[in-house]
């Protein structure tokens, strides 16, 4: 039966739970170590499985002898995944030659060491763009090509004609390395199959509802007999949409042994086969008029996504340019495929665009804040840029139209950049709200919490509906047996699941009111739920406590389902970034002093968790800008950065003062995801701040001290 009235978010001023700082409901479990992640699942008779991964990308296997591993103490299972004579075509999953399972992780490692695997390495390894683009190289990419044109937009001839008319013209190349997700919990699954026709698959995945079919296929069981569980996961960032070869292999071993199997990638394997953000090389020709209009832009961008196509958001990025042409190509190499990673394609496009905009601003002599606003039509960006400029102290900053000097001192600079994200959502998500006669209330949906705080709003939306506290409601998430929910990609989680939760809460309240209104001499719909009580709107003297109201249900719990409702969500996130840096013009040391980011996202469900996400996005951008790069030896073909020593990510000492602002001038009373716009512009803003400090324009990330010192010595 459909509800009598449509669910609607309350105006912000009337909210008592949502749009406030809500400590996350699973915090106590996580800070005490009680939260069980996939890595932590321990089951009776469980075995530990490991892959034998060859580090070289292209091979012809000459010998694959896994039998010696079976003689190793503790090893219970070995299997060759490839045979002698077969080729390895790329680094990563295709180089998984064999798998072993043993009573302990150490015994599994012993088993790997006992295997005899020999191969002839095929040269060149095809790990660099140069190797891929070399005419004489083998063709290894999609469709038997190493290069594919992916996208063309605009009129190249018209844009080139317009470029002839500009007052200032700049042609430069910008590049960004391949970035890894570095989820602290690696990919993997623990498969609980002990015979029979049912199984439970614990897996670190951001798509719980969509995964039981593939797990069931690998287990050769019916999909409705397989429950996929992700109660907690140690990060995903876009890399964990399927169970992968690691999950399907664990399923097959479990099926064969009839024993639970624990197969989590090692950190080294994770770097080799866990996905990445594609690198990018862009050539941009941009032109502006003296008065600071972006007149024309011709941009060509290559994506380096390994065996995948990579991602690139397109140029011009956000800014209005009168005439433009954009072309993008995928360059294929024999390395692990790129995957979605937090705002796929946007950090790359943003860096090229924001650098070019900044270069043109200084070239025409207009300060970079004014220049940006002149070329942005959306007033949201104007107010957001003004706000971050104020917070970063732009007014009092000396270098407005000229950068600082290279004079042997430490120089301070400020840079800006902006971002956008769609946060589109779609139908399909469901939620169940259930109220027990003893007062317990649960909110159940198959969504997952990657660390975003989704579990907390699964409870908080229901608490808001019934005037309860968040802790009164139990959130149950992360099982494929629960009502279906969308995978967490493209910031759709909140837009998909929050409307369904709201709808379920609304339906439960209406059904509840129909039952108890007579007890309060009131009509359904004429009740107020507040402070743990339900009160008659006409006669505030008449009320029931939550417990009394629930007891009135008798012996049967009340259950209501909810579905995604389009009018409860919106889309379109805007963000603006400012960064302040200090550069030592003698040593090249670059320190980020302060970062400020503002973004809108309609109705904020949990301001505390939202600020955490904005902090996190800014820090990931800082990390990309300052430290991160996947590096291969071009001749040996080996990945030189397959560990957290050589692949640097931002740590405590890199963290500047950070201000994360939710844009409360956004009056859309609807929800949307918000975790991507904030990781897009930070590195561009930092590079612009470096220029602003000392006049050094670095166009190649990361901004390391060696590049800075070389650049500074070129200038002086």
């Amino acid at each position: 039966m459909r509800a009598r009235s449509e669910p609607a978010w309350k105006p912000k001023k009337d909210l008592t739970v949502l749009n406030r700082d809500i400590p996350r409901v699973d915090g106590p479990e996580k800070v005490t170590g009680a939260a069980k992640y996939t890595h932590d699942i321990r089951l009776p008779r469980m075995v530990y499985a490991r892959f034998w991964i060859h580090p070289y990308p292209r091979l012809n296997l000459t010998k694959v002898d896994v039998a010696p591993a079976l003689k190793v103490k503790g090893v219970v299972y070995v299997k060759a995944l490839k045979e002698a004579g077969e080729d390895v075509r790329y680094q990563g999953a295709d180089a998984a030659i064999a798998v072993v399972a043993a009573e302990t992780p150490e015994a599994a490692e012993d088993g790997l060491r006992a295997m005899i695997i020999e191969a002839e390495e095929l040269y060149p390894p095809m790990v660099t763009a140069e190797q891929a683009l070399d005419e004489s190289s083998p063709k290894i990419g999609r469709g038997g090509k190493n290069v594919n044109v992916r996208e063309e937009r605009g009129d190249e001839e018209a844009a080139n004609i317009a470029l002839d008319t500009v007052d200032v013209l700049i042609e430069e190349s910008y590049s960004l390395p391949v970035q890894h997700h570095v989820c602290l919990e690696t990919h993997g699954s623990v498969v609980d199959y002990r015979g029979g026709d049912e199984a439970t698959v614990y897996t670190s995945i951001q798509n719980v509802s969509g995964t039981n079919a593939s797990a069931a296929r690998a287990l050769e069981l019916d999909a409705d007999k397989v429950n996929v569980i992700t109660h907690h996961m140690g990060g995903g960032f876009g890399s964990k949409f399927g169970i992968g070869i690691e999950g399907s292999t664990a399923c097959r071993i479990a099926k064969e042994l009839g024993r639970p199997v624990h197969l989590m990638l090692t950190r080294g394997d994770e770097f080799l086969m866990g996905g990445n953000r594609s690198g990018s090389q862009q050539t941009i020709v941009g032109g502006a008029s003296k008065d600071g209009r972006l007149v024309a832009l011709v941009a060509k961008a290559d994506r380096f996504g390994g065996t995948g196509g990579g991602a690139f958001a397109g140029l011009p990025y956000i800014y209005k340019v009168e005439n433009s042409f954009f072309e993008s190509r995928s360059i294929y190499t024999a390395t692990d495929s790129s995957r979605a990673m937090r705002a796929p394609g946007h950090p790359q496009a943003s860096f090229g665009m924001e650098s070019m905009v900044d270069e043109l601003a200084f070239a025409v002599g207009i300060d970079p804040l004014t220049f940006r606003k002149q070329n942005l039509e959306d007033p949201v960006y104007h107010r957001q840029l003004d706000r971050v400029a104020k917070e970063i102290g732009w007014d009092a900053h000396p270098n407005k139209t000229e950068p600082g000097a290279v004079d042997g001192t430490r120089q301070v600079g400020i840079g800006f950049a902006i971002s956008q994200w769609g946060s589109r959502s779609r139908p399909g998500s469901q939620c169940e709200v259930r109220i027990e006669p003893d007062g317990r209330i649960t909110s159940t949906t198959g969504t997952q919490d990657l660390g975003t705080g989704s579990r907390t709003y699964v409870a908080a939306i229901v608490a808001e509906e019934f005037g309860l506290e968040v802790g009164d409601v139990t959130a149950r998430i992360g099982e494929s047996a629960f009502p279906t929910s969308a995978g967490s990609g493209g910031s759709v989680t909140t837009g998909c699941s929050a409307p369904a939760i709201k709808d379920a809460a609304h339906n439960a309240r209406e059904a509840f009111e129909a039952r108890i209104a007579p007890m309060l001499d009131a009509e359904p719909g004429q009740l107020v739920w507040r402070g743990g009580e339900v009160i008659s709107a006409q006669d505030p003297q008449k009320s029931l406590t939550w417990k009394q109201a629930c007891a009135a249900l008798g012996s049967e719990p009340l259950s209501a389902m909810g579905e995604w409702q389009e009018h409860l969500r919106s889309q379109g996130v805007h963000g603006a970034q400012a960064a302040k840096v200090e550069v030592d013009t003698v040593t090249g040391e670059l320190k980020v002093l302060k970062m400020v980011f503002i973004q809108d996202c309609g109705l904020v469900l949990n301001r505390l968790a939202a600020r955490s996400q904005v902090n996190g996005g800014q820090i990931q951008a800082l990390s990309y800008g300052l430290l991160e790069a996947r590096v291969h030896d071009p001749d040996l073909g080996l990945m030189l950065t397959d560990n957290l020593d050589d692949y640097k990510i931002a740590g405590v000492q890199e963290i500047p003062e950070m201000i994360s602002i939710m844009d409360d001038d956004d009056d859309r009373l609807a929800v949307m995801g918000m975790a991507e716009a904030n990781c897009i512009p930070g590195h561009g803003a930092i590079a612009n701040a470096l220029f602003n400090a000392c006049g050094l324009r670095l166009r190649d990330l990361p901004l390391t001290a060696d590049k800075i010192i070389m650049g500074l010595s070129d200038r002086s």
């Binding site: 006992a114 695997i117 602290l184 140690g234 990931q620 957290l644 931002a650």
Partner: protein, 217 residues
Amino acid sequence: MAEPKDPAPTRDTLSRRTFLKSAGGVAAGGMLTSQLAAEPEATPLKATAGRTLAGDVTIELDLNGRKHEVTVEPRTTLLSALRHRIEPPHTGTKEVCDQGNCGACTVIVDGRPAYACMLLAVDLVGRKLRTVEGLGSVENLSPVQAAFCEHDALMCGFCTPGFVVATTACLERRPDADLATIKRELSGNLCRCGTYPFIFDAAETARAAMAPKKGGK
């Protein structure tokens, strides 16, 4: 970037780093040199002198104030012993890099923070070990744990036990640590979600909560 912690709590213990060094690269280069390791059965170590151990040995660990009997091999790290050998498994201590880069496995050994992945379990007999499970419980959070929850100093939470333990070790040893000291003490821990700013806030709140009351009884 993470800065390494002192891998060994005292000098007379054998750290895993020195163990790997003395084992001459075989362990470290195992994957690449697998052809050399064709020997079917891992040769059992022979006891030759005083402290030399071989095969499975049963030791007693003093963990969170309780004695635990646990059977390990000489090469078993404390991290692996905690996660895979001790009953019930202590999985609050996380494995992320298994080579001393990230701090997710931080434990407290005789009052000092250490990476559990860089210590051999057999070296820790007689030492006082504390893990995240020993600091507080869901119903009874320690001041550091409560401050982490209050400030949202966690997102996915996978680095969180390591940060909670490192913060605790810092504030117990240096109750008046300023923020710069706290940051230095937490420099051996990595978080990918980017919780650092709120961890700093949480550490300062916890310091205030743990401070000995001035002028009290």
